[in-house]
């Protein structure tokens, strides 16, 4: 039996004459979709599996499918004769283009067998000479396959060997997904043994020393393991000591390591290659000269065997010396190795002739955390879920480790400057270290982050897809009208109204809200007064420094107050004035300390509505009132004269008179939303939910808790803050429900907008999934400005009851989940593009066509 080892991710080329049994072999050893046959592709493009004229198109299709599979990281087997060098070259190129290993499996059967098999198949009408030609080509090819680029070549000779062969899938060397840590990932050591020992001690490792007192191993009582990001050698005072410890730890299973460019060069030097002995290599070679030959051999082999990058913890962590872009994770090719060792370059060189580095991390959008070293930086910093741990220990900086999965940085300072850098190494905290977010590259948003059809993964509602046309609409609003995305950590979701009431005189009534929650198994609900203002999201930072550090604020900015579509309500000076009032209230309420954050995101209503909506009120609502007032009284008077003449206009007169009354009621309704403000005088904020702070979100907290915090702000500054009226209702208790209805009657009876009914517990799951986070129950008079002055006329109301709420409800849930997702990401300190993704998605969903009156 012949074992054929095939890497789990590879492009496998079957090579053999027509009739050699490739398809049978493929079907035996590979999955149905893993095998792409050229015959099948001929059939796809030409309706005939044997139409040789279609070969070119068929191979185009084959290459396209294979490319898609390889890009997705799937093993792919090409079932074609592949006896010509040209055909194989294309496959090797395809494999390289996707950084997977090309493997050849040759099926070599006697010509007579192949000819006989073909003869037995009625659809193969080509003669024996074709098979013979294939066979000759194959024979000539056999020796060169390795040189052609196939990393593995398996030749199966004869029918029996083919029949008895077994295919074994092998894990790639870089595939360590089954290693779940916890890890301590350590940056470039460069021969700084003493600092390494100190750092290991700090991390809780126990060093083991040999008879000469040299550290040869270190283990962690909790079973943690070290991952070295490479560049253990060169420049520093004791490279052999560092290697002895690292080699001991890897041998004992206490550490993993990837190679750095310095190990790579060291191997070549030890192998006798002519390399330029500089950048600290001279130090290493001199130090190794004092070591026994066996140690040098061991060093050489250890370094040689290091795998250029490691994929760990189910793919959630990738370690490579110079970092690695997502497309290369778990791949194997020359360029993947080169990227991992040396990083990405732009292809240009700078004035010193050195390659210009490309900041791949800024473009990184991958899910895996990438930890790396290679480029000394003063402070380890998160850039799009990647972190460089080289903090220039050998240049007098720090030796840095990152605890995974805790994401905690642990450092020890260098004992001294061990090696003078060619140009001054910027030490953390020194002048010239750029910290303001505006020049930090990682808040660049890419068009590809938002445009086109997208799927956003949410923790609370699964995958939510955004249609391309909705994203297109949102792009315009976001680009032209919204605040800078760094201020938009959240956009409020839309809210569904209650089911339509069957009562004769209203469209909405609290009964339906209580029933809906009772039916969903939600017993405790809070009714919150609906303020007659605009929804406003308030982001307030404790001080300017926090705003700069955390949100990359510009001069004089300490937060933002924005609308549901991300527009600023007020100009910058007024925004800052209002923010300073909010800040003062949060200060005196002591919330910063209590919540452990130095910034807060609040959901609130900003009053009056006319502050934002004055043009709408004036041009839309007041205009309707004015037109009605101008037209209807004259119409009534004209009809009265006709009536007086004895004409039969009674019905028309009656209708028109009622319309006049409705128009007056309409005017009264919108007027309640207008009052004069002067600067901030007359402006009020009614917060009702604490959305997020550093490291925390509070959507699992009950609404009464949120309202309590809001009350503390109102107590601190009653002029700026307005408290939110509330009533708690037990949906299983008829008396409690009746009290809730009475409360709504009172609210709306004096012209109030209505109320929102929410599950008391906040985020609630029912057997049907996420419960609606709230249902609005709007007042009869308020709805006049939504449905039009005459909506209460029975003939209109009857038709208006037919309103389709399903879409609105589904939209409300999806937007709610996206909002929570944005808050979670913001609180976790994820990169801007990750926060922006769900925020943008909310805006995109808002451009879905849905009845705006709901």
């Amino acid at each position: 039996m012949t074992r054929i080892a095939v890497p789990e991710l590879a492009l496998v080329a079957l090579v053999g004459a027509s009739g050699s049994g490739k398809s049978t072999f493929a079907a035996q050893h590979f999955g149905r979709f893993e095998v792409i046959s050229s015959d099948f592709c001929r059939g796809l493009v030409a309706d005939d599996e044997n139409d040789q004229a279609a070969s070119k198109d068929a191979f185009d299709v084959l290459g396209y499918i294979a490319g898609k599979r390889l890009a997705a990281g799937r093993l792919t087997v090409v079932d074609a004769t592949n006896v010509s060098k040209d055909a194989r070259r294309q496959l090797v190129e395809l494999a390289k283009a996707h950084d997977v290993l090309p493997v050849a499996i040759v099926l070599d059967v006697p010509v007579s067998v192949a000819v006989e098999r073909n003869r037995a198949r009625p659809d193969r009408d080509f003669g024996a000479h074709v098979v013979r030609r294939h066979h000759d080509q194959l024979r000539r090819s056999l020796k060169g396959l390795g040189r052609e680029g196939f990393r593995k070549v398996h030749v199966l000779s004869g029918v029996d060997e083919i029949a008895s062969a077994e295919v074994v899938r092998e894990r790639l060397l870089n595939d360590r997904r089954d290693e779940h840590g916890p890890f301590d990932v350590i940056g470039d050591v460069h021969g700084c043994r003493s600092e390494l020992e100190a750092l290991l001690g700090r991390l809780g490792y126990v060093l083991e020393r040999d008879d000469e007192g040299r550290a040869v191993d270190a283990s962690h009582p909790a079973g943690r393991r070290v991952v070295f990001v490479g560049d253990l050698v060169d420049r520093g005072p004791d490279t052999p000591g560092v290697l002895r410890l690292a080699m001991g730890m890897t041998a004992a299973g206490h550490a993993l390591a990837v190679p750095g460019n310095h190990e790579h060069k060291l191997v070549r030097a030890l192998d006798g290659a002519r390399v330029q002995v500089s950048h600290g290599l001279e130090t290493t070679l001199a130090q190794l000269d004092d070591e026994p030959g066996a140690f040098r051999v061991a060093v050489r082999d250890w370094c040689y065997d290091l795998v250029s990058h490691l994929v760990l913890d189910d793919g959630r962590l990738v370690v490579a010396h110079a970092g690695l872009k997502e497309a290369y994770h778990g791949r194997a090719s020359g360029r993947v190795r080169s990227f991992a060792l040396y990083g990405d370059t732009t292809g240009e060189t700078d004035e010193f002739g050195l390659p210009v580095r490309y900041p791949w991390a800024r473009d990184y959008r991958g899910r895996a955390m990438v930890l790396y070293g290679h480029t000394p930086t003063p402070d380890p910093e998160w850039v799009n879920n990647t972190m460089c741990l080289d903090t220039g220990c050998v240049f007098g900086g720090h030796l840095t480790a990152l605890r995974y999965p805790e994401k905690e940085v642990v450092q020890v300072p260098a004992e001294q400057v061990w090696y003078e850098p060619a140009k001054p190494f910027p030490v953390a905290g020194s002048a010239g270290v750029v910290t303001d977010g505006s020049s930090r590259g990682d808040d660049d948003l890419d068009l590809a982050d938002v445009l086109g059809r997208r799927v956003v993964e949410t923790a609370h509602h699964g995958r939510i897809s955004i249609r391309a046309e909705n994203a297109a609409g949102a792009l315009e609003v976001m680009s032209r009208f919204a605040l800078h995305p760094r201020w938009l950590g959240y956009l409020p979701p839309t809210m569904a109204p209650v089911a339509t009431s069957k009562r004769p005189d209203v469209l909405e009534h609290p009964d339906e809200a209580f029933t809906a929650y009772a039916d969903a198994g939600v017993r405790d609900v809070v009714c919150e007064e609906k303020h007659m203002g605009s929804r406003a999201v308030v982001l307030v930072c404790r001080d300017a420094d926090t705003a700069v550090r955390r949100f990359g604020a510009g001069a004089g900015e300490t937060g933002a107050i924005h609308t549901r579509t991300g527009r600023s309500f007020l100009d910058t000076p007024l925004t800052e004035q209002l923010l300073s009032r909010v800040r003062a209230a949060v200060d005196s309420a002591g919330l910063w300390e209590e919540l452990g954050t130095d910034w807060l995101l609040l959901d609130s209503e900003l009053l009056p509505w006319s502050l934002k909506a004055e043009p709408l009120l004036r041009e839309q609502y007041a205009a309707v009132g004015a037109a009605a007032r101008a037209a209807l009284p004259v119409a009534v008077e004209t009809l009265e004269r006709a009536h007086a003449r004895g004409l039969d206009v009674a019905d028309l007169l009656d209708r028109t008179s009622r319309r006049r009354v409705h128009a007056e009621a309409f005017t009264v309704a919108y007027r309640r939303y207008c009052w004069q403000v002067d600067g901030l005088d007359g402006v009020q904020l009614a917060p009702f939910q604490l959305l997020a702070g550093e490291g925390s979100t509070w959507h699992e907290r009950g609404h009464l808790w949120h309202l309590e915090q809001a009350d503390r702000l109102a107590a601190a500054d009653p002029e700026t803050f307005r408290s939110t009226g509330r009533v708690v209702v037990d949906t299983s208790d008829p008396q409690s429900v009746a009290a809730g209805v009475t409360w709504w009657d009172e609210l709306t009876g004096v012209g109030g907008e209505g109320m929102v009914v929410k599950p008391s517990a906040g985020l609630v799951r029912t057997h049907q999934g996420l419960a609606q986070p709230g249902l609005k129950v709007r007042g009869r008079e308020y709805l006049r400005i939504i449905y039009g002055p005459d909506y209460t006329a029975p003939e209109h109301l009857e038709r208006l009851r037919d309103r389709n709420l399903g879409h609105k409800r589904s939209l409300a849930l999806r937007e709610y989940a996206l909002g929570l997702e944005a808050l979670d990401r913001l609180a976790r300190g994820e990169p801007l593009w990750r926060v922006h993704e769900p925020v943008f998605a909310v805006l995109a969903l808002e451009s879905e066509p849905v009845d705006p009156r709901l």
């Binding site: 660049d444 938002v450 680009s479 037109a627 037209a631 009809l639 003449r645």
Partner: protein
């Protein structure tokens, strides 16, 4: 909405005409109340007053506000709230004009089969229409009706008497008094009510041109507000405007009037710029800057409806033309305006139109010869400008960038522009020459470009040109490490 027509008894060539003869002319019996179901609602015709001496006919149109929306009578966006709460059930608009045309169609044509002797008889008329929307000032009623022989009284209506600060609404109580044949009066109302309103409840199609010429041919050709009437009646559809103008010109025996110049129409459509072909001058300045730097592959970022793209496509030396805009709807209009579907393959192959945003990084923008930002930067909030700078100068890094923007100093030359106002409601800022210069120098310095400032349009000796242009060139300075890349330092590797 309501319209009343009142007439008094008068003497004609054939003798005394009693006021109640209005019933014959309108083909509606004065003692009956008639209702007509029309697509726009129910039109009621009745006579509140009938005598030998004085007779009033009333047309009352009852619009069903819910049917209006459900039937999608408006061409607008069914998912905008303005659809549902609006003045259409009250204001005298194109719907009233349509009802008039249906209910009194024969009278509108000037025919009276029962009493041919009444055809064309001038009558003393008083027409009252409450709540006439006047877009563009309450005096518009006078400007439109007075030249046709009417005494015009337009009483303004307050927007909200309890909020005096809001001032007057755009509605007037319109009363017209004059002596003329009823058919003429009706044709004036039929054409001019929608013009006053400035909006139409139905989609304007090519037959509107015929309708306009048929109903107004006699008087519109010499009307001083002819251009306004034509433009509004045809709801700003440019190709129709030019067509109708040509036909009206033929009636009038005059040469084509001024606003066939596309740029002027552009400028007046938003009332922002004076009638100079600045749009043309600007495009020419941009093109000459592009030619100066030898650009062949050009991106027009913020291409709008494609005015510059059209010019770029006429010159084959621009081998690749990319038009980008943030508004998907605008791109669709550009597609129509450029007649993409009928474009020859060779031209079509040079053009790409797609959505993009200046504040997001767009990888497909990399590697072009030039990026044009024509009247774009001023539409961005100042704090978003750095994002645009980074995506264009930092990431796309074309060899050249052309930026044009208004010169704020020049604004005082625009008489129609209130002091301190900007040229377009969406402008977030407008820069003086000094401010633009500082910005351009800063961007050039930061991203390694050389910059040259150029005037566009006829310059005022004190205020400078109406538009300013900055031409950035990357090849003119040594290649330096830009903001987005860093050199490998000697000690780093």
């Amino acid at each position: 909405m309501l319209l009343t027509i009142t007439t008094n008894a008068t003497e004609s060539a054939t003798g005394r005409v009693p006021a109640s003869d209005l019933g014959y002319l309108l083909h509606k019996h004065p003692d009956r109340v008639q209702a007509f179901d029309l697509p726009v609602g129910t039109a009621h015709v009745f006579y509140p007053e009938v005598s030998e001496d004085r007779c009033t006919a009333a047309l009352l149109l009852e619009v069903d506000p819910i049917g209006l929306v459900r039937g999608k009578r408006f061409g607008g966006d069914a998912f905008a709230l303005a659809q549902y709460v609006n003045d259409r059930p009250y204001a005298a608009s194109s719907m009233l004009a349509v009802a008039l045309g249906k209910v009194w169609g024969t009278a509108l044509k000037g025919r009276c089969a029962a009493r041919p002797d009444l055809e064309g008889v001038p009558l003393p008329l008083r027409i009252a229409v409450p709540a006439v929307p006047c877009s563009g000032g309450v005096d518009l009623g006078g400007r439109l009706f007075a030249p046709l022989g009417w005494d015009v009284t337009a009483r303004t209506v307050a927007l909200d008497p309890q909020v005096p600060a809001w001032g007057d609404s755009r509605y007037v109580d319109l009363v017209l008094e004059g002596t003329m044949p009823l058919a003429d009066a009706l044709s004036h109302l039929y054409v001019l009510l929608p013009v006053l309103d400035g909006a139409k409840h139905y989609w304007v199609s090519t037959d509107e041109v015929d309708k306009l010429v048929r109903n107004s041919g006699a008087w519109l050709a010499s009307h001083p507000e002819r251009d306004l009437v034509t433009r509004r009646y045809l709801a700003h559809q440019r190709s129709f405007v030019v067509d109708a103008t040509a036909r009206l010109d033929a009636l009038d025996d005059t040469a084509s009037s001024a606003f066939t110049d596309a740029s002027e129409l552009d400028a007046t459509a938003d009332g922002s710029e004076p009638p100079t072909p600045l749009v043309r001058l600007r495009a020419a300045a941009v093109l000459s800057a592009l030619r100066d730097v030898g650009a062949h592959r050009v991106v027009d970022l913020g291409c709008g409806e494609g005015a510059l793209l059209r010019e770029l496509l006429t010159d084959p030396s621009f081998t690749e033309v990319v038009g980008l805009d943030v508004a998907a709807g605008v791109l669709e209009r550009a597609e129509r305006r450029l007649a993409l579907e009928r474009m020859p393959d060779s031209v079509r192959a040079r053009l790409t139109l797609r959505q993009s945003s200046a504040t997001y990084r767009d990888r497909a923008l990399e590697g072009y010869d030039a990026v044009v930002l024509m009247e774009v930067v001023e539409h961005l909030d100042l704090d978003r400008l750095p994002a645009l700078e980074r995506s264009v100068f930092g990431h796309a890094r074309p060899a050249s960038v052309v930026v044009t923007t208004p010169n704020a100093e020049y604004n005082v030359r625009y008489e129609r522009l209130p002091g301190g106002a900007m040229r377009h409601p969406d402008h977030r800022f407008e820069w003086t020459r000094a401010e633009f210069g500082v910005w351009a120098a800063h961007v050039a310095e930061r991203y390694g470009y050389a910059v040259e400032l150029r005037p566009v349009g006829e310059a005022d000796p004190l205020l400078g040109p109406p538009t300013q242009l900055a031409l950035f060139r990357r090849d003119a300075v040594s290649v330096r490490a830009g903001n987005d890349t860093s050199s490998v330092s000697g000690g780093a590797a």
